[in-house]
């Protein structure tokens, strides 16, 4: 996906979010660190352009909720979760760049319910690459990308990587 394709995908997801939730009442967006965060901000920006209303954006760090800490060779650095608004009774749209095994999303769901009791949780991803290991399915998908398990989906976003591009790469080694 190039810059334009990413922009169009975000616009379409923004419309879908508004349509499915019948507006923006009680809606909040929460991005999963790291690249879910700029995506959530862009979605909020697009929703503001369409509906003229501000949707709060939070940041979720799921490091402390990972179920694979003991199997990782290197320990992830913990960053802060910043959700400065109550999520009780809200419609939460969780935003991430890629969905793969589903374990990140499972951890994010655990983290979210520790912060409060949302009315419902939906999932928006830029890329669904398949290979799920858990019964989790995104509600909004920018692009379905069938991949082999030896491939890596690299999402680059301007806010973090300096440019917008999604590439499929062969795993090194």
């Amino acid at each position: 996906m190039d810059k334009e394709a990413i922009r169009r995908a975000i616009t379409r997801i923004a419309h879908e979010i508004i349509e499915r939730n019948k507006g923006t009442a009680d809606l909040v967006l929460i991005g999963i660190r790291r690249r879910g965060v700029p995506l959530a901000r862009r979605l909020a920006g697009r929703i503001r352009e369409i509906e003229g209303r501000e949707v709060p954006v939070g940041i979720l760090d799921i490091t402390l909720y990972r179920d694979d800490l003991s199997t990782l060779a290197t320990q992830p650095v913990v960053h802060s979760t910043e959700v400065p608004f109550p999520i009780d009774g809200k419609k939460v749209v969780l935003v991430d760049d890629v969905i793969f095994t589903g374990r990140t999303v499972r951890a994010a769901l655990d983290a979210l319910v520790d912060l409060g009791r949302p009315r419902l949780i939906q999932l928006a991803v830029l890329v669904d690459r398949g290979h799920r290991e858990l019964p989790i399915r995104p509600d909004y998908v920018g692009k379905n990308v069938p991949t082999s398990s030896r491939e890596v989906v690299a999402v680059n976003l301007a806010e973090i990587d300096g440019q917008d591009i999604v590439q499929i790469m062969e795993m090194p080694g």
């Binding site: 790291r34 402390l64 990782l72 320990q75 655990d110 983290a111 409060g116």
Partner: protein, 316 residues
């Protein structure tokens, strides 16, 4: 940037980057303490043993809460009620801890170097919770964390540490930690309460508190260890309080927004007057809260997985 050692024995050997990593991680842990549900599953299934050879309520409780907030199982062994009174040595205790499958041992011991000995005998992480008059690294880390949160930095600040430096492991750890992070450290107290070998440390020495406190950004008061004052190291408590106690008038000589710190428990009216201890510049209660966050960070970094690096959750 990982921690180099699998143990936390003192700040003397830690690098500036390692200290920074602990403080950054503690900032994330503090966010958890502000939540209605103060629990994350990061250390689920891990066992932390608090092995205390000296009485301590606040440090032990702080470590215990830190372990519980991270979902680790914590066990307290107070040696007054354990086999130690039956004559078991620290090395035998280490063998028992190994057999019990502990992932971390938090050790408080009256002898300097005891955690270093234990670290050689066990497979798990050893965290020094105070060894004799040597080091108390987590207390110093929570002091650094508190200063950094309040002042936004440590670099270039002037910190005066006043009181019984000679018997204070808190002071020793703080001297290493503060100077590594770029703060200027002034030590103040009567000559009899100054440790030998100060000239080798990166500090300035004062006997006159009014001179030492002038313009300081942080005033760190140490507890006067009354139990160690039978040896006549100063003439009387009254005189000590007059010369080295912190009161409002003396505090006015420091920078206007200077922080007042104390590791607790306070001897009110001796090293610090009640109005200053409870005043707006005092961060004494915050130090206690931050202690839990810092200990969570230390447990997470030592017990929570491999070496330590920046990884991304993306693509999983």
């Amino acid at each position: 940037m990982p921690l180099m050692s699998r143990h936390l024995l003192g700040l003397e050997k830690m690098t500036r980057e390692e200290i920074g990593l602990v403080l950054d991680t503690a900032a994330s842990m503090k966010e958890i303490l502000g939540r209605p549900i103060k629990k994350v599953p990061a250390l689920r299934g891990k066992t932390v043993i608090n092995l205390f050879y000296e009485a301590s309520t606040r440090t032990r409780t702080s470590f215990e809460l830190a372990a519980k907030h991270l979902s680790a199982d914590s066990v307290n062994i107070a040696t007054a009620a354990s086999s130690v009174t039956k004559g078991e040595s620290l090395i035998d205790t280490a063998a028992t801890l190994r057999a019990l499958g502990a992932d971390a041992v938090v050790l408080r011991h009256p002898m300097a170097g005891a955690p270093h000995l234990l670290a050689q005998k066990v497979d798990c992480a050893v965290i020094n919770a105070g060894d004799g008059a040597h080091e108390h690294p987590t207390q110093a880390l929570l002091d650094l964390f508190t200063i950094r949160q309040k002042k936004g930095r440590l670099d270039g600040l002037t910190v005066v540490i006043t009181g019984d430096i000679a018997h204070s492991r808190v002071a020793r750890s703080n001297i290493w930690g503060l100077s590594k992070m770029g703060a200027r450290v002034r030590l103040c107290g009567p000559e009899t309460l100054m440790p030998p070998g100060l000239e080798k440390l990166p500090v300035e020495k004062f006997h006159d508190f009014d001179r030492a406190i002038a313009g300081a950004d942080v005033v760190m008061m140490l507890r006067l260890q009354l139990e160690r004052q039978q040896q006549g190291l100063f003439p009387s408590l009254r005189e000590y309080a007059r010369l080295y106690g912190l009161n409002r008038q003396r505090l006015s000589l420091a920078a206007p927004d200077a922080l007042v710190m104390h590791p607790g428990p306070i001897n009110r009216g001796v090293e610090i007057t009640a109005d200053v201890a409870d005043g707006v510049q005092s961060v004494i209660n915050e130090q206690v809260t931050n202690g839990v966050a810092v200990r969570m960070a230390v447990l997470y970094l030592l017990v929570g997985g491999g070496g330590g690096s920046e990884t991304d959750a993306a693509g999983r």
